[in-house]
């Protein structure tokens, strides 16, 4: 199998934000305690005409701007999400049509809670590395929702990122050195068909779920590649809130500074399938050639995908060809709870 690499990447975060204190006021909860407890001050929410498809299209356009390739050379399009707009009818073909991919491509929507996007990256790595395709596009995007009044309402956010993966080394912005996954059958978070909002196992979501899988995949990747935490300049762990990834860093002896460039959760919330991918995009936005990045996603249910990535010289030429993650985070407009509820269909 040939080595694959990232030839283009793109991010997107909707412009609208709601503050944690705005939500707390509605439910008579203590905003200070919630912000402290979750480590999230505000979250990104989709406008009334945005959904996972529109977010994925903007991500794809940004990834194409950086890749500078002919969209018709893309042979696979995968969109990972837990908020695909249709129950039956792929998001990925709408995205491919809007990006001008043509007709000669394979596509599917992936689902695995918050790691559907990282699973999609592994799929295109396999296809490109085995020469079945020239380029593959993998996107993680979501417009996540928490039930009104549920703690998830403070964190469930909208946004995402995507990567065009190829096999020609001359085109690599970053080399995908290796990947390792760790999966088990763990019911920490779920949503049954036709249920509007997910259910979760409360405290159960910590130790046996997030910690076990993120550590399992990260340690597995380091064992497989013969690397240690010290070999990586930047680290991204899935960010369900502002606390879990910091606790994970502490557990694995990762200095907090290595997390910071990709630590976007405090300002936009948990973008689910988009989350660790946005962390990677934000990290690429400020990484230097030669830097090594370790990324580990987490999806409830449960599993983690870990990646070892080395940044190449091309990054300096490519990063400014499309808006950065920070550009999107800074471009914001606050909305009230009634507007938020109306846009998200929480009231009729």
């Amino acid at each position: 199998m040939e080595k694959t690499g990232i030839v283009g990447y793109g991010a997107y975060v909707p412009k609208l934000r709601i503050k944690a204190e705005t939500i707390a006021d509605v439910w008579g909860q203590d905003a200070g305690r919630i912000i402290n407890g979750l480590g999230i001050t505000e979250k990104a929410v989709p406008n009334k005409d945005e959904d996972t498809t529109t977010i994925a299209v903007q991500i794809g356009k940004n990834a194409l701007l950086r890749a500078g390739i002919n969209p018709k050379d893309i042979g696979a399009v995968y969109v990972g999400s837990e908020s695909h707009p249709y129950a039956v009818k792929p998001t990925s073909t709408i995205v491919a049509e809007a990006l001008g991919v043509g007709t000669d491509y394979t596509a599917a929507d992936t689902e695995f809670a918050c790691k559907a996007g990282s699973a999609a990256i592994q799929m295109v790595m396999g296809l490109a590395g085995s020469k079945m395709i020239k380029f593959g596009l993998a996107i993680g995007a979501d417009t996540a929702q928490g039930a009104p009044g549920d703690p998830l309402e403070y964190s469930a956010a909208a946004g995402g990122a995507g990567f065009i993966v190829g096999k020609d080394k001359k085109q690599f912005i970053a080399t995908l050195n290796d990947t390792f996954s760790y999966s088990t059958d763990t019911p920490d978070f779920w949503r049954r068909p036709k249920a509007d909002y997910p259910s979760h196992g409360g405290r159960f979501t910590g130790g046996p779920a997030y910690v076990r899988h993120v550590a399992g995949a990260t340690n597995g990747l380091m064992d497989k590649t013969g690397t240690t935490v010290k070999d990586y300049d930047y680290v991204v762990f899935h960010m369900p809130n502002g606390k879990f990834p910091l606790a994970m860093a502490k557990k694995l002896d990762v200095p907090k500074e290595k997390l910071m460039p990709g630590f976007v959760v405090d300002k936009i919330g948990n973008t689910y399938s988009g989350c660790s991918l946005l962390g990677l995009a934000a990290t690429l936005d400020c990484a230097k050639p030669g830097d090594k990045i370790l990324v580990t996603s987490y999806g409830s249910g449960a599993g983690s995908d870990s990646f070892s990535i080395t940044v190449n010289d091309l990054i300096d030429k490519k990063r400014n060809l499309a808006p950065t993650t920070e550009d999107y985070i800074k471009d914001k407009q606050y909305i009230t709870y009634p507007t938020y509820a109306k846009y998200r269909g929480k009231i009729v």
């Binding site: 005409d49 498809t53 529109t54 903007q58 356009k61």
Partner: protein, 134 residues
């Protein structure tokens, strides 16, 4: 009812998703929605498919407060006539704007958005809208 317009909508995906119009290569006029005959050159004209970049400027706008079927829940929303950089004028919604962005001459860029849904069970119609450029 929610299935009535599916084939017609489908035929327009290409021109809706990316502002694909036409251009008369004889006089250089561009058209969106696509025209099959150039009104200036008539039979002399040479029409080709043409994809607009989508950037342009607002030449006129209005705020819709009472929307047509399928748009009721989106109100209020601004509609503008946008003059594209390549010349053609199109009508489209302005999104992600501050009130000060609604001004004649304001530069806009295209964004891919949901236009409307054919009810709860119908298809979702996507297309190009415009957002102000900073």
């Amino acid at each position: 009812m929610h299935k009535a317009n599916v084939p017609m909508a489908w035929r327009r995906f290409k021109s809706k998703y990316n502002l694909v119009g036409t251009k008369c290569t004889k006089c250089n006029s561009s058209f969106y929605p696509p025209r099959l005959i150039c009104p200036k050159c008539r039979r002399e004209g040479k029409i080709e498919e043409f994809e607009f970049k989508g950037t342009g400027k607002i030449v006129s706008y209005t705020i819709i407060r009472s929307g047509p079927d399928g748009f009721e829940k989106q109100t209020p929303y601004p509609i503008a006539i946008v003059e594209l950089d390549e010349g053609a004028r199109v009508t489209g919604q302005i999104v992600d704007y501050e009130d000060s962005d609604l001004a004649i001459g304001k530069k806009v860029a295209p964004v891919f958005r949901k236009v409307y849904e054919s009810g709860k069970e119908g298809i979702i119609h996507y297309g190009i809208k415009f957002k102000p450029e900073n």
